[in-house]
Amino acid sequence: MSEQTTSSASRVQVNLIGLTKADYRGNPSTLCQGCGHNSIASQIIAAAYEMDIEPESVVKFSGIGCSSKSPFYFLNRSFGFNGLHGRMPSLATGALFADHTLRGIGVSGDGDTASIGMGQFKHVLRRNLRLVYIVENNGVYGLTKGQFSATAEVGLTLKSQGTNPYMPVDIAWEALVGHATFVARSFAGDPKQVKELIKAALSHNGIAVLDIISPCVTFNNQDTAMHSYQWGKNHEVALHELAYVPPAEEIMVEYEEGQDIEVTMHDGSVVVLKKLERDYDHTNRVEAMRVLEEANACNCLITGLIYIDTTQPSLTDLYNLPSTPLNRLSENRLRPPRESIKRVNEWMF
């Protein structure tokens, strides 16, 4: 924990870089009361505050949807771009080349990612863009009033929509097969886990996919629906208990030899996975898939850090960029010298 509490109650709490929680807030939410997306937004705020992240060092991206509106409700001091439906990944890819020191947070919905956005979603994974890719997954199109999205379970029946005939897209599973280097699933009803996962994701050097079940209280929150609060509460099975330990801080969480796993992240921080009932190897893709398949079978909601590979280079690592951000390069570094034009003309024959 990075907060500096002081005896005098009068002083407002600030984090290590001297910012108050208010410095991480966004505009007031215009989403429905109780919408899962709101609780995720507050965990993003908390995570960034507790990690002492400079808001200006973050860029926010989203597509279109209720979920995609939420970047407007956190980190007002960060730049953001609310782009096109299903096309957030390409937008983020281009923008993050401009300043490789920035951390990207992309917020999308299940429709935005798994329906119209499937193509860009799969391809940003292959490129391992350094982006926290949050899918606020509620099984419906909230903003257009509750039609089925591609993650709706087959057979789900909604009053105004009838019954969903098609097989669902499993976002975490798609991420695994698509070579994502960080794959987690969580539940808006489990804020602590959401927060720790966001911290871990922000420390990952590559694409970090968070498939967060985020109930739509207005259109898809019946207790029997797999994207409802009640269903999540009743069926959540956490793979492990997660604790994020910032760089250069010793590990406080009490800790059993051989039992718990430490994952050391790119920035030196450590993610501690406290073992719960099951043994689980978070570095094994096939294992991860087996677990997800089991989850389907026993229909439970497996949550936690499903898979991570900290060894892969991120997209910008592959491009051998200068230390100065590209968008700050001066003309002399962008335009070849005058002499060179002569040579160029000699090539033209």
């Binding site: 991206f61 407007f72 730049f79 782009g83 923008a95 993050l96 968008n327 003309e331 024959f349």
Partner: protein, 615 residues
């Protein structure tokens, strides 16, 4: 292949003097047989002889096996448009032998590989057999390489028969193989053997000859896609996102080739000041460009028709969210997949209106390889100045064929990065600024870029309604005023886009408006029309929005013929729309069949249109 239909034109009678440095050579080969090296070698050798020359590749949408043609026009007067007539034809492909033979003008020369066992059914042409296999063999080329060099045989024979001196051939090969002597010698060996064989065994009977001139010394030879890529590099391009498509691929591939060579970072040794991403499709390609442009990079993508259609939604966002990007559309024949390896000017109206709702896009129209280079860098200045997407419409003929052109000039002004506020600017302004406020009355607001660490720097960009300070708004007045500002900005664009080029003739009373790659055909047609007593003035449009020169030009002529390579007369339509009061003066002369215009096509269209109007 009606591409080389036989038909005699009044002005191509075979008078020996007429026949010097004034004819076309067409070579018919099989696609994928590597004849491109031979054709370029001939083209370059002629260019080195100082004779005005152009080369056009007529190829199928196929990788290997189908017929393909290459036409070289030699013209002492510098008329380099495509012609339908072929004085010299080389037939290497059995599949098109008869058709190629039929394509020779009466009195023309017909060279053919002698292993093609087909009857020469014409008396009015001079036929020359070429023992291709034997010559290749005798040249001493190793047997495993003979297939690759067989096409050098017609190079050697034409050199001998037309009078191209071998030194120029050698230099052309030397350039082509970047001085690699092994390849040079191998190919040159065949050329020499072929030339010698021709000297011994062929008697020159046709009149077509070349003689050295001095008309190309200050010129270069370039294709528009390479020129565009080089121009972009001098424009400081930083992010290239693209998806392969004919005829645009070679633009991005040239960036891949030349960026590493030309853009050495003077400050951080060996680092890349650019990034090239092959996207998964065009929606992603333009999306990446928009992200990068928004974040302050000079970003571009290049595509052709089908890809352009897929870019529509993002083009609308870029227009409305005011993001500078450059989109090169190397036009091919549409609609739909159309003719992927043929040329057209069919994307003009679509691009102008690209995006649902009210949009007016900025369009640049390069007319030759030199302008491809110039607009290659200028497009970025214009896009960043206006905070708009800039579309550059080239075409297959301009983009993929080799054009004689003025050497590229180093940019004559520093980069214009537009209205960008960094930390120090915001300090000065005490953080007081609003993303979409029209401070300067030109419709162009100020912007900040991600990475700017000033606490008031950030704003939230979006494709939805927004106030001057970038807050979400559905307010009717806010919406209306923002859209009117964008319209004002489009007016401002007139100050920044390239003005048209006007060429006048004495006593001209008709005007011609055209754009892009049709210039050579139009210039030649105007010369022919003048000879027929019909002088004309010519405005070559180079950008949208139209600048005042366009209206002036129209006002100065009772009749203005708008000549273009599409079906619907798209520029004509846009002019009629922009100048309703003068629309009655405009006459549309539009035609599209996938082939570059010939002077004859232009001349006949203009005459026909004038007669129509006279009726």
């Amino acid at each position: 292949m009606s591409a080389i239909q036989s038909s005699v034109e009044i002005d191509s009678l075979v008078n020996p003097e007429q026949a010097v440095n004034n004819f076309s050579i067409t070579v018919g080969t099989v696609n994928g047989s590597g004849s491109q090296t031979s054709n370029l070698t001939l083209l370059r050798a002629l260019f080195r002889m100082g004779i005005p020359v152009s080369g056009k590749n007529l190829f199928p949408s196929n990788i290997q096996g189908l017929p393909t043609w290459y036409t070289i026009r030699v013209n002492k007067d510098g008329f380099l448009a495509r012609r339908e007539e072929n004085e010299v034809v080389v037939a290497m492909n059995p599949a098109t032998f008869l058709q190629d033979l039929a394509g020779v003008v009466p009195g023309g020369a017909f060279y053919y590989a002698d292993d093609i066992r087909l009857p020469i059914n014409r008396q009015d042409v001079y036929a020359y057999p070429m023992p291709v296999k034997q010559i290749t063999k005798n040249s001493g080329a190793p047997s495993n390489l003979r297939d690759y060099v067989a096409n050098m045989v017609y190079v050697g024979i034409l050199a001998q028969m037309l009078g191209i001196d071998l030194e120029n051939i050698y230099q052309a090969l030397n350039f082509h193989f970047k001085g690699k002597s092994k390849a040079i010698d191998l190919n040159y060996g065949v050329v020499q053997a072929a030339a010698e064989w021709a000297a011994k065994n062929l008697e020159k009977r046709d009149p077509y000859l070349v003689r050295p001139m001095d008309l190309t010394r200050d010129l270069i030879m370039a294709d528009g896609n390479t020129a565009a890529a080089l121009g972009a590099i001098y424009g400081g391009v930083q992010l290239v996102s693209w998806y392969p498509i004919t005829p645009a691929s070679s633009l991005a591939e040239s960036l891949q080739t030349y960026l590493p060579v030309l853009r050495k970072d003077p400050e951080e040794e060996g680092k890349n000041t650019f990034a090239i991403i092959q996207a998964e499709d065009e929606l992603a390609a333009i999306g990446m460009a928009v992200g990068a442009g928004w974040a302050g990079l000079r970003a571009m993508t290049s595509t052709s028709g089908p890809g352009l259609s897929l870019m529509t939604e993002y083009a609308g966002l870029a227009y409305f969210a005011e993001v500078p990007i450059v989109v090169w559309d190397v036009q091919r024949v549409g609609p739909s997949t159309g003719l992927p390896t043929r040329t057209a000017q069919g994307d003009l109206t679509f691009t102008y209106f690209m995006g649902h709702g009210d949009t007016q896009q900025v369009i640049l129209l390069p007319g030759n390889a030199n302008e491809c280079f110039e607009f290659g860098w200028k497009a970025f200045d214009i896009a960043e100045r206006l905070q708009m997407p800039v579309f550059v419409l080239s075409d297959l003929d301009l983009g993929m064929n080799n054009w004689m052109t003025k050497p590229f000039e180093y940019p004559d002004k520093p980069m214009d990065r537009g209205k960008v506020l960094w930390e120090e600017d915001l300090e000065r302004l005490k953080g007081q600024w609003a993303r979409y406020q029209d401070i300067d009355g030109d419709g162009i607001p100020y912007r900040t870029l991600p990475g700017n660490r000033h606490p008031h720097a950030s704003y939230f960009a979006r494709g939805t309604g927004h106030t001057p300070d970038a807050q979400y708004s559905e307010d009717p007045i806010v919406w209306h005023e923002n859209l009117e500002r964008l319209k004002r900005k489009y007016q401002t664009a007139k100050q920044y886009v390239p003005k048209p080029v006007v060429e006048e003739m004495r006593q001209a009373n008709i005007g011609i408006i055209a754009y892009g790659s049709t210039e050579p055909a139009i210039t030649e047609a105007r010369y022919q029309l003048q000879a027929m007593g019909i002088p004309s003035n010519f405005l070559r449009l180079r950008a949208l929005p139209f600048t005042e020169e366009v209206e002036e030009f129209i006002s100065q002529h009772e009749r203005v013929i708008v000549v273009e390579m599409n079906r619907d007369g798209q520029l004509y339509q846009l002019l009629a729309m922009e100048y309703p009061d003068k629309a009655a003066r405009l006459i549309s002369a539009a035609y599209t069949d996938g082939l570059p215009f010939t002077a004859r096509r232009v001349r006949e269209m203009i005459i026909a249109k004038m007669e129509q109007k006279n009726e």
